[in-house]
């Protein structure tokens, strides 16, 4: 466990090393929030409701989507796929460490850092536009944070699952970009799933991506009963087992096939 703690610490230090990047990172989320603020202000100009949403509930949704960006980020999958493609995986295979645990420690450090950034971004936006965000209390917020630990695990496993494709097709850059655009959309990253057109709503409610954005935001907004939340957690665990099982299978097959080409 100590070696993975060391990986966590090193990854954390890497993340905080450059201050300009730190600032730039925070700005990124703020910009897209501002765009959403203007566009939804225009939509709500002559109306009070859009679906079941008021302006402030829609903005709360959009703000939390930006906050939850750290949950649905997909850089780990891309990095692992790149290591497989370049042959750098060999370095890890000869070390007395579990490659996946190594990455999980690095993933956690990275996400923890980004979560802090996103909280800062959230507060900055709230200072600028204090009236648009609904805050239902700390207990609901903590409930969301608890749920996010499960969402992160789903995301990590899905990222790894996608990365293993690199064993079979070598370069997955284009596939990865295309796939994660779909993931972002079906997670509710652009519009809430409940106002999507019929077919997409059904697909979005079936796939696990909703647990990265839509579901936690809805928990926060108090739209789910305790039973629905527990049901969500149960489905999440089902997906974790499902992804974990197939990941293990593909990973072992992939390592067997791995030829360490590249560098």
């Amino acid at each position: 466990m100590r070696k993975y703690w060391a990986v966590f610490k090193i990854s954390w230090q890497n993340a905080v090393e450059y201050r300009a990047e730190f600032l730039g990172h925070m700005m990124l989320g703020l910009i897209s929030l501002l765009v959403m603020y203007f566009i939804w202000s225009a939509v709500f100009k002559n109306r009070e409701y859009f679906g079941n949403y008021t302006f402030s509930s829609m903005m709360t949704y959009m703000i939390l989507v930006r906050f939850l960006h750290f949950v649905k980020r997909s850089n780990v999958g891309r990095q692992i796929a790149e290591e497989i493609k370049e042959g750098r995986l060999s370095v890890y295979l000869t070390k007395p460490v579990s490659y996946l645990r190594w990455w999980f420690a690095s993933f956690l450090a990275d996400r923890f850092f980004e979560a802090l950034l996103r909280i800062l971004m959230l507060f900055t936006f709230l200072l600028l536009f204090p009236k648009v965000f609904n805050f239902p209390g700390i207990s609901r917020f903590l409930m969301v944070l608890f749920f996010l630990t499960i969402s992160l695990l789903v995301n990590f496993l899905f990222n790894l699952f996608v990365a293993t494709c690199a064993f079979f097709v070598t370069d997955i850059k284009l596939f990865h970009t295309s796939l994660f655009l779909i993931v972002d959309f079906l997670a509710g990253g652009q519009i809430p799933i409940d106002i999507m057109p019929g077919f997409l709503k059904t697909v979005g409610n079936f796939l696990p991506f909703q647990f990265m954005v839509f579901f936690p935001v809805k928990i926060y907004q108090g739209e789910f009963s305790l039973f629905q939340i527990l049901q969500g957690i149960f489905i999440c665990f089902f997906w974790i087992i499902f992804l974990g099982y197939f990941l293990r299978m593909f990973w072992l097959k992939g390592v067997e096939r791995y030829e360490a080409v590249g560098q």
């Binding site: 300009a20 730039g24 700005m27 225009a42 097709v169 370069d171 997955i172 284009l174």
Partner: protein, 269 residues
Amino acid sequence: MKQLVSKIRRYLRLYFYFARFSLENVLIYRINSLLIGLAPIIWMVTTVIFLSVIFKGTKEIGGWSFWELLLLTGIQEIIYLASWTTFLGNLINFIYSVDSGKFDLTLLRPVNHRFFVSFGALDITSILSIVNSVVLVSLSLANLKFSFSPDRILLFLFGLIIAYLVIYLLSFILASFSLFWIKGENFIRWLMETLDFDRYPAEIYSDWFKVFLLTFLPILFLGYVPTGILLGKLPGYFIFFGILIVAWLYIVSTLIWKKGLKNYQSASI
């Protein structure tokens, strides 16, 4: 004059080799050959869905109808993809090369360094996607009932050239900052994110913010200005403003580049 012609021919030949090498680099992997251009199609489909959902509740946004907004999206996407095809990826690689110290190798090449870091490779994956944007623009134009005039089309074409130059110069300036701050990839990402402001009509922004996006960070020249001119929503003199902005950005970019080169320390590796 003869020297200039031979210099241009040399750089065109060099650019042809860059393009051929880039294409070979992408097509070397079979899955890439199959998926080339897919990501922008997905992005476009999700954007159209987003806009159609929004327009369920309203007939216009900032005085722009659904098809006008799709036209704006299509035109902006053409400029954006042209940028990706020709220089954005190169500038991101340049930032990484400054971070790793590999920029030294570029400085040793017998070629104009600014040209090389900007146009040293082509992202062929974006070229096919431009076709989707052209389809979207054509579809929008077919659904918009307005009459074209030759002078408006000419101004629009000028607008597109200005749009390309503005995004290039802005990206180049931000990429050149990495010569001072080393880790500069976020600057480009930051610019890409601000392009979202240009995906919607500027009428939805407050006046001061609109002025800001037309002058200090002139990203509205990418999609909003050419589209506005084509639709007759903006007067033609915006093109003149655009030329002034391009000239100003060129001066700034040259100053920052030269100062940055002096500042470069070849750290890392």
